[in-house]
Each structure stands twice: as structure tokens, then as C-alpha cells.
């Protein structure tokens, strides 16, 4: 029983981080209809920002307030100057924006390699290794804080999308771009802001992950893949779905690792991915109707 509970706790805590990674991609997917394949690479950049600030003595949680705005700006620049121009050229299919993001991801990785070399970087804080116990179940302090912050950000995101004008405009654009344009929403601006928001959210995930993991230029790829799985699980473009998707992926990986063997960790996630595509196309969104 202890083994089971510990596995579930580990899975849910990891799922919180996954949610934060996935929600940004979902947002971009919902509004622009494209998968941002540079998502993990943006997170990698945020981790390096955290690392650099940490060498100056800034706590990773404080660097959230630097990394998120920075990545927001980067996202805005990418959307405005690299992705939007592609839409304007009629001979270029909108799908080619996806290819563009692949290229952006590669460029970001190589820039990181150029600046920081391929060496592993890590951030050690006094809470990196700390744990507390509830009964016999251990909770990593850093991951629990990360989970809490992820919850806060997700809730804030919800409030923003449901209650603010800008949030409503984003949802309107996601639901029907043409109708939104007719209603006077500046959809061009909305896409730019959305990409910025998505980048900012994944930056938060990077800052939270940095104290418990390590950083190297190629770290982006696997996390892009995870974000993609979460987005599909959650139902393309659904924010609630992304939460379900993130926690499900975290849990599935943990349970798979405990009861099947850890070498199958990735296989479990991908199997669920395929099963959802086959039997529940549209993801968890279909079940929640949000």
C-alpha cells in the first residue's frame, strides 16, 4: 500500500509540472491551431535564465518573475516577426508555421550550446534535497512547492480567460477566428499575446523544474514531446483538458514505472496517447465539455 501511495504522490506532483508545460502549448494550439514544436526549447531557455540568475545568488522561485516576462517577450517577438508573416504569404500553407517552430527550436538549442556548451548545469538550493513526511509517504519540498505554484498559475489562467476582456477575446479567437474578427477583436494581436502567454507559462515550468533537475541544451526535445502528448490527451486547445492530461501523464508514468518497470516509462505515456487517439479522439475535453 505504501508503495502504491508513494507512486501516486510522485505521479501527481510530477503531473502538476506537466500541466504547466502542457497548458501553454494547449493555449497556443487553441488560438492558432498549430502545435508549437519549440515549446520545450522555450522551457530550456527559461531554465538557463534561472541558472544564470542563480549564479548571481537569485533564488529560482524569485527568478520566476524575471524568466516569465522575458520569455513572454520572446514569445511575442517569435509570433509577431517569425510566425505571423508566414500567414500573410498566401502561397505558404498555415501548417508551415509548425515547421517554422521546429526551426526556431533548433536555433534556440544551438544558441544555448554555443553560449553554455554541452556541459550539464545544475542548481543546488537548500530545499533541492529536502523532504517532509506525511505518515510514511515522502514529499519532495521542491516538487510540492512547484505543484502549488503550478496550481496557482493554472487557476490564475482560468480567471484570466473567463473574467477579463482580453481573456474573453482569446477564447473568442480560439472558438471562431472569423467571427471574432467581425466582432471587433484584433485577432492578430491576440495571437501575439497568446504565444507570449504560452511561452511565459512554460518558462514558469522551467524555473520550477530547475532546482530538482539539471540543464543542458538538448533538454527541450523530450519536453516538447511531453507537452504534445498532454495537449492531445486533454483535447486540442482545452485548458481543463490540459490539467487532466498533465496529471494523467504524470500518474501513468509513475504507475508504469513501479508496476511495469522504469525502462517502460515513456512507452506507457505513448501507449495512452495512441489509445486516446483511437478511442477518445478529442481527448478528455469530450468528457468534461469545458
Amino acid at each position: 500500500m505504501d508503495v502504491f501511495l508513494q507512486t501516486v504522490v510522485a505521479g501527481v506532483l510530477k503531473g502538476g509540472l506537466y500541466t504547466l508545460i502542457g497548458i501553454g502549448m494547449t493555449l497556443i494550439m487553441g488560438v492558432m491551431g498549430i502545435i508549437n514544436l519549440a515549446h520545450g526549447q522555450l522551457m530550456m531557455l527559461a531554465m538557463y535564465v534561472t541558472f544564470v540568475l542563480n549564479t548571481m545568488g537569485v533564488d529560482p522561485y524569485v527568478s520566476l518573475f524575471v524568466a516569465m516576462p522575458l520569455l513572454f517577450l520572446l514569445g511575442v517577438v517569435i509570433q509577431k516577426f517569425l510566425l505571423n508573416p508566414l500567414i500573410k504569404v498566401e502561397t505558404i500553407l498555415p501548417e508551415n508555421q509548425v515547421l517554422m517552430t521546429v526551426g526556431i527550436g533548433m536555433v534556440l538549442t544551438e544558441i544555448a550550446r554555443f553560449v553554455f556548451s554541452s556541459d550539464y548545469k545544475y542548481i543546488t538550493t537548500d530545499y533541492s534535497n529536502r523532504t517532509f513526511y506525511l505518515g510514511k509517504i515522502s514529499f519532495s519540498v521542491a516538487l510540492t512547492i512547484a505543484f502549488g505554484i503550478a496550481l496557482v498559475f493554472t487557476a490564475a489562467m482560468f480567471w484570466f480567460l473567463l473574467k477579463t476582456d482580453l481573456g474573453r477575446s482569446i477564447r473568442a479567437t480560439a472558438q471562431d477566428k472569423d467571427a471574432a474578427t467581425l466582432m471587433g477583436v484584433n485577432t492578430g494581436r491576440i495571437t501575439v499575446i497568446t504565444f507570449g502567454l504560452g511561452s511565459g507559462l512554460v518558462a514558469a515550468a522551467g524555473c520550477l523544474l530547475a532546482p530538482v533537475y539539471y540543464i543542458f541544451p538538448d533538454i527541450g526535445g523530450p519536453f516538447t514531446a511531453k507537452a504534445f502528448i498532454i495537449t492531445i490527451l486533454g483535447g486540442l486547445g482545452s485548458t481543463v483538458g490540459a490539467i487532466f492530461g498533465g496529471v494523467t501523464l504524470g500518474l501513468a508514468e509513475s504507475l508504469g514505472a513501479t508496476y511495469l518497470g522504469m525502462e517502460y516509462e515513456d512507452i506507457v505515456g505513448l501507449t495512452i496517447f495512441i489509445l486516446v487517439l483511437l478511442f477518445l479522439p478529442g481527448g478528455f475535453k469530450r468528457l468534461t465539455k469545458v
Binding site: V3, Q6, P222, S254, T258
Partner: protein
Amino acid sequence: MKGLKKGLMAVVVAVLAFGMTGVARSAEPIKVGVLLPLTGSMAKFGEIEKRSFEMALDEINAKGGVNGKKIELLFEDDTGKPDVGRSAMEKLISRDKVPVITGGYASSVVAATAPVAQQFKVPFVICTGSADDVTEKGYDYVFRVNPPASEYPNAVLSFLRTVAKVKTAAILYENTQFGQSSSKAFEKDCASVGIKVLVKEGYQAGAIDFKPVLTKVKAANPDMIYMVSYVMDASLLMRQSKELRINPKLFIGGGAGFTLPEFARSAGDAADGVYSATLWVDTLPFPGAREYAAKFRKKYGSETEYHGAEAYASMYVVADALKRAKSLTPKDVRNALAATNMKTAFGPVKFVSYGKKTQQNKLDTYMVQWQKGVLEAVWPKSVATKKYIYPTPHWDKRK
């Protein structure tokens, strides 16, 4: 008369020309090929080895080189990939026409390139690539300075037999060729010492969370945990073992990541007390071992470890063979290599045949332990710099 003069001139010119090419020849350096991963995921080790080769080369050339000729190293980047390694090897042999090749880091690259050396009959002195079967194929042009992978845990086993008489073990390994073969070999070793393996689990390198597998290990409560991991996985495994308060009598790393300074720095106090198999430490009583490590530190401002020592020693082995070779043809160099019997900073080098292996250097292995952030040699006793701390103290009883 004129004809005679012309003839004389021709002779003089010819003699001069010959003389000059003679001079030019003796000044022309001996080219030696070195195959290393200089980019890619193994570049870190490739760099340590390259620097060590260059250090040894400078020392040899400063002392006048080999029989009056300087040595020149031609580095080829194998990027850690077998196919790239193969073509690099072919280039060194057919275009650069080197009489001998050394280097060889990744097992998979060495396994792919050794047959090329054998086919072209150019001696290949492997400094690192440790897959057992490379020296089990009867290749007479392939030599290996470092011990094969299956012998890495020898010192660990002797420690287990004489000091820590543990009954049960858990084995965790990264799910790669190196991890699988090492863990399989160690499982067999455990059986021979009478240790029962309770858990044997592979994991995917680069995982964030090892808690599921560690929880399983904790539930099995083994006396020891043996891990074959690369450096950052090693660090996370220890950090999370500490989080989960897993308290075996000892944690042992099977070489690879556990001896690197990065491991201790990133794992922090979770690294304390961890044992590891290793092939070399700079406190060993080999001529030049300490000097090599000190010089490396001074020159490059970073630490070296056993991979570097292997490379450094290999350079000397090659230079020694070139010195003794009757000529600089690959065949004569090969014969000189086969007769190698020398002491290096990495230990005595002599290529012998035993078991299924041929032209394999036989070396002792050692066990080290992290004690307060310093890697101390603890076993065998004859080379120990500190006494081992056994059993490892429980996590909650540590300060």
C-alpha cells in the same frame, strides 16, 4: 670532358637531393591517429582524453620525441557514433597512412572500428572502449590498455567478500548497451559471492523522477544498491534515495558517472558515503600518476579522472612502441606493441592473453568512496588513502 662534368654534376645533385630528403625525413614527424568523441553527448570525456593525449605528447616531444623524430597527433572526431568512427578510422589509415592509431572511447565505436584496423593491418591501441568482446575475437592488431567492462567491479567484489558480507542486493542500470551488459555481469558476480538479487531494474536515462523504482527498492530493503548510471542520473538517484530515506548498508556505483566531480557537486551531501568502482585514482603508487593529475589540474583548471589517465598512458605506450619498432611500418609497430612491458601513470602495461582475451592489458581495479566531498581510495587496503566508512550511516542519523 664535358660529359664527365655533367655526369659529376648529376651525381653531386643526386647526392645533395638524397641528403636533403634524408634530412627532411628525419625532421618529418611521425603521425599517430587518435579516434575520440570530440562532439556529441560523450564530448566531455573526449575532451579530458584529448587534453591528456596532448599533455603526454608535449612531454614526449620536449624530451626529443622518438629516435630524434617528433610525434604528431591527428585527432579524428567519431562523435560517439559507430558509423562515423568507421569512416574516421578508414580516413586515418588510407589517407593519412598513420602507422598506429589510438584513442577509442565508446564501446560501440570501438566494436565497429577494431575490425577495420584488423582488416587493414594497422595496430589500434584502445585506451577506453571496454566492451568485453573486442579483445575476444583474436585480432592481432588490436590492443587494449584498460581492463574490459566485466572486470570493473573486481575490487568491489573483493570488498564484498572480505568486509561487507551482504546477503541481498538491488541493481539499477540505465537501459543502454553499457548498462545492460554491466548489470548482467554484476548479477552473475553476485551469484558467485552468494548475494541474492532482489530487484533488478533498468531505467531510461534522463528521467526526472526515480521515486517509483526507488520505492520498489525501498520496499525490498536490500543490503546494498548497485547502480550503473551516467553522471546526472547518478546524482538524481542519490538525491531521491536520500529523500525516500532508503538505507542500505552501502550504495555502490559501477564506474561511469559516480567518480566525476560533477556528481558530488550536484548531488551535494547525498553523495556522501557512496562507493564506486574505478580503474584509477591519482594517489596510486604508479610513477607519474600524481604528477599527471597535478599537471592536468594546473594546466586546464579542472579535474581529471581515470579516462584521462588511460589516454595519458596510451600515448606513452604508443611512443614506447614507436621507439622500439624496427621500422615505422604498421607491422613492425605492431610487433613492438606486442612486446610492450612498461610502467605508466595508469599502471603497468603488458598485453597478455587470458581466458578468451588476447592482447589485453590486465590491471587491478579499485574502489573509491566519497567522504565529505572528497573521493578517497578505500579498497584494496594497500592503496587506501582513508579507511572505508561501512556501513553507510542512515540518512536521518547524519548531520
